[in-house]
């Protein structure tokens, strides 16, 4: 049962089917997922754009090899320039990382409950959507427990456990148990059931969340007169454990945002839930993702939403919620919102953490496989580049300069993520192997590996910073864990050159190649393992 904080009872008007959508969001291709959903010239354009990232990446790598064979001097000079660029880019990103670390620590020390006292926020509702499939019950339990322990009025919180019908009987039993246990803790606890095999949908978090949102709107928001612009939706992965002041921090940023209904709110994902049980490899990969998000938090103009985040229900409703036909719905929602709002949409970094699971499996090989597949799914976010550029050719309401800037930023991001580690760590030595006799006798060919090695060592100093920061972000050491684990946690960063290639560049290239060849990926549910 929900409290009625609203002073006036607001009745949502009965809308025609698409009247609630923003004009651009009414386009039939607004939620395109792949080229095959289009026809005519649009399909050709979309398909071309799908090919572009993979073609650019492969061309770059092949060009490096060919240059090493046929123009080894040019290749050598390019590699040196690239290594210098890499060092400076690392320094630049490290600067952002250190700054956000400072801000993150500060935000975790702020009393956000006190901070929002000056606002009138009691009318706001927190709608937390937790899509799940067949994750272990203890994972769901941990998420719900953390929600119950937040320093926020639980009666203003509506928790939605979004179940998949196709997950079967076990999932149903879990949802009922959770409702029984936690139902009275919150203002509302709802279990939505996403039917299986809805035509046109891809099974995954996006389609599940969209069903849940519409279900909640009809069954809770509208009947209780809860306004959409008073409802903040937090779409969380099922393993998300919130920190106590998350919603206070969220409300503060919502109330102080320039355009709160045209903004998404992004926390920093830290993968601390099973940090002590995960392997060094999994920890390094997970923490690298955290660091990337921390860097982006200081570059909000480049941010898109990622994984668990928050947004107003009104904003979602105006575009018809998440796409149900593609993989990376967590970042796609931002691009939907940006386009539908003609470029007038922001991501506001919270610089406040939410905790999630690092990838773990019972065996090491299992962990390696899971990390690879997870990162391949994440890097399949390159499908967003296609979507963005396609719609940038359609939505002329967005200033051209903005469109070009965003397109180039996205292109550089997806290209560099895939090619840079491979070019630096593997192909940097190509001229030495392929350069031929004349090149081999030059000082340049002898100095090339020395110069590149020294520059990479310089770049690796950034790992010392990463190591220190990571030690401050991990949770308290549990009893039974040897103190020596801290040494391991500090030294594990030596794995970065390997993880950069094996768990970032290669899965990224894999994902781009699949898109290029039209072998579209489906959603892959990351297995959650808890001891």
């Amino acid at each position: 049962m929900l409290p009625l904080f609203t002073k006036r009872r607001y009745t949502q008007p009965t809308m025609a089917k698409h009247n609630h959508l923003l004009p651009y969001a009414t386009r039939p291709d607004f939620k395109v997922g792949r080229a095959t959903e289009l026809t005519g010239k649009n399909r050709v354009l979309y398909r071309f754009l799908e090919i572009l990232p993979g073609a650019a990446s492969w061309s770059s790598l092949i060009a490096m090899v060919l240059a090493s064979i046929y123009a080894p001097f040019f290749a050598a000079y390019f590699i040196i320039a690239f290594a210098v660029f890499w060092v400076l880019k690392t320094a630049f990103l490290s600067y952002h990382l250190r700054y956000n670390w400072k801000r993150l620590k500060h935000h975790m020390s702020v009393d956000w409950k006190l901070m929002i006292e000056r606002f009138e926020y009691e009318h706001l509702y927190q709608l937390i959507i937790l899509p799940y499939y067949n994750e272990p019950e203890e994972v769901i339990e941990a998420s719900l427990r953390s929600l119950s322990e937040v320093r926020y009025d639980k009666k203003s919180m509506i928790v939605v456990l979004a179940r998949e019908e196709r997950a079967g009987e076990n999932a149903r039993i879990v949802s009922e148990r959770m409702k029984e246990k936690w139902g009275d803790t919150f203002g509302g606890f709802h279990v939505s059931v996403h039917p299986a095999d809805i035509p046109g949908e891809m099974a995954g978090k996006g389609s599940n969340a969209t069903w849940a949102a519409e279900d909640v709107r009809k069954t809770i928001l509208d009947p209780h007169g809860i306004r959409y612009n008073h409802t903040l939706v937090s779409i969380f992965d099922i393993d998300t454990v919130v920190y106590p002041d998350y919603f206070n921090c969220l409300v503060w940023h919502f109330m102080t945002a320039a355009h709160p209904l045209k903004s998404s709110f992004q926390p920093v994902p830290v993968f601390n839930n099973n940090m002590w049980e995960a392997s060094a490899l999994a920890r390094v990969v997970a923490m690298s993702s955290t660091f990337w998000e921390m860097v982006q938090q200081e570059r909000p103009e480049r941010m898109a939403t990622f994984s668990s985040h928050s947004v107003s229900f009104q904003a979602l409703y105006e575009i018809g919620y998440w796409q149900t036909n593609m993989v990376s719905e967590d970042s796609r929602i931002y691009w939907n919102l940006l386009l539908a709002n003609n470029g007038e949409y922001d991501v506001i970094p919270l610089s406040y953490p939410v905790s999630m699971d690092a990838n773990a499996a019972p065996t090491f090989l299992g962990t390696v496989k899971n990390i690879y597949k997870q990162h391949r799914r994440w890097t399949y976010g390159v499908e967003n580049f296609v979507y963005i550029v396609y719609h940038f050719t359609k939505n002329k309401s967005i200033p051209r300069g903005t469109r070009i800037k965003i397109a180039l930023q996205q292109a550089e991001g997806y290209w560099s993520m895939v090619t840079n580690p491979i070019m630096l760590i593997i192909l940097g030595w190509a001229p030495i192997f392929f350069g031929g006799r004349v090149f081999h006798e030059t000082v340049l060919s002898y100095n090339l590996p020395i110069v590149v090695r020294d520059l990479l060592i310089l770049a690796m100093f950034g790992l010392v910073v990463s190591s220190i920061i990571s030690l401050t972000l991990i949770p308290k050491r549990p009893e039974g864990k040897n103190r020596f684990i801290y040494v391991v946690m500090a030294l594990q960063w030596i794995l970065v050159p390997v993880t950069m290639v094996v768990f970032s560049a290669i899965p990224g290239l894999d994902a781009q190649t699949r898109l290029m060849l039209g072998k579209y990926m489906g959603f892959w549910v990351t297995p959650k393992v808890r001891n």
Binding site: V84, H96, N100, D111, V438, T442, V443, L444, Y446, N447
Partner: protein, 385 residues
Amino acid sequence: MNNARIDVQPLPYKKRQRTFLFLVLVFAVSLPFLYLYATGYRFDFKRPTNLVSTGGIYVAVEGTGAEIFIDGELVRETRTFRKAFYAQNLDVGTHRLHVQKDGYHTWVKELPVSKRLVTEAEAFNLPLVPQVRVVSPWQTATGTTVVRGIPTNASSTNILYATTTTATSTFIQNTEYGSLLAHFGTTTEVEGGSVKETRAINFKELLDATTTSESDESLATSTIVQGGVRLGFAGEDLYATWVGSFEQMPYYYCAPDFPPYSTATVTAPFVLPEILDEETDLDEIESEEFVIHPVQTVPKDTACEPSIRIDRKWQSVQDFDFFPGSTDLVVLALEDGVYVVEIDDRSWQNVQPIMRGSNLRFYIESNNIYVYDGNLIYQILLQTE
């Protein structure tokens, strides 16, 4: 948690922009200097141009524990993972290298260093006293090798039973000796297609031979071809001729002459012959503008006969073959011993004895060298530490 203030604001955009521009400047300024450094240029404020073009030397060494000296200065002691040394920042001119190791012959060479190029060399150091495994015709019942007289020209690694008796009834025939001895048999014996006869052939015929086979093949004449190198006689002299592809040819086959090493300051610049002509002003060469793409090359159309005479110490060559695992070293049986000679004749060819003695024959099989003195067979132990 009583803190109700935001003391740390988001990183200002202008600050980020300034940092970005600063780093772009660092990139633009540092890159040319890195290019110059990588290609061999160094700053020398004593010179008029302040920028000096240097070269390098790369020397590879077999084994560990050797000391590498350049111009009398120790630059490297070889270890398990550091068996080669690359010296850069060397002035253009001739430099003296030597590689020494306790208990081993010293390898010495003078090599030229050219602008922005690296001169490569491979050193070798044989033991002063060769380590051998003695193979004799007879063994005791327990397998101990029986010898009459202790070998003095080598250090044996197997236990020997020295006897003065000529009676052999108490000993067992060593079958290994018998099978090895067959390789030192008459020249009419054919072993795996390898027939070596001493025959003087025309040198031009030797150069005109067109085979480029990479296989270890012995021809019907006194030639051996291995790894693109043909060993063969021209008159009394033994020559190593490159018959492989031009791309693979070691540079020393067509290396130009260079002045000898001197401890005095080198004043004459070393230049590649192909850019010298009658009108070349040597002073101008010293200060000519550098080029980014220097090339040390033997142009394909240069008249270079890739053939090197092997130093036989003015003795007749009784037998020859490649050193196991190498096409840069040759094993020669001369009148006073069996020697290893390097083919690289820049400045001179290092010659080091495997075993001294007269009328020694040798045979190489499966990376082992066996020497026969008419009585015993010695397996030379080519260990590396």
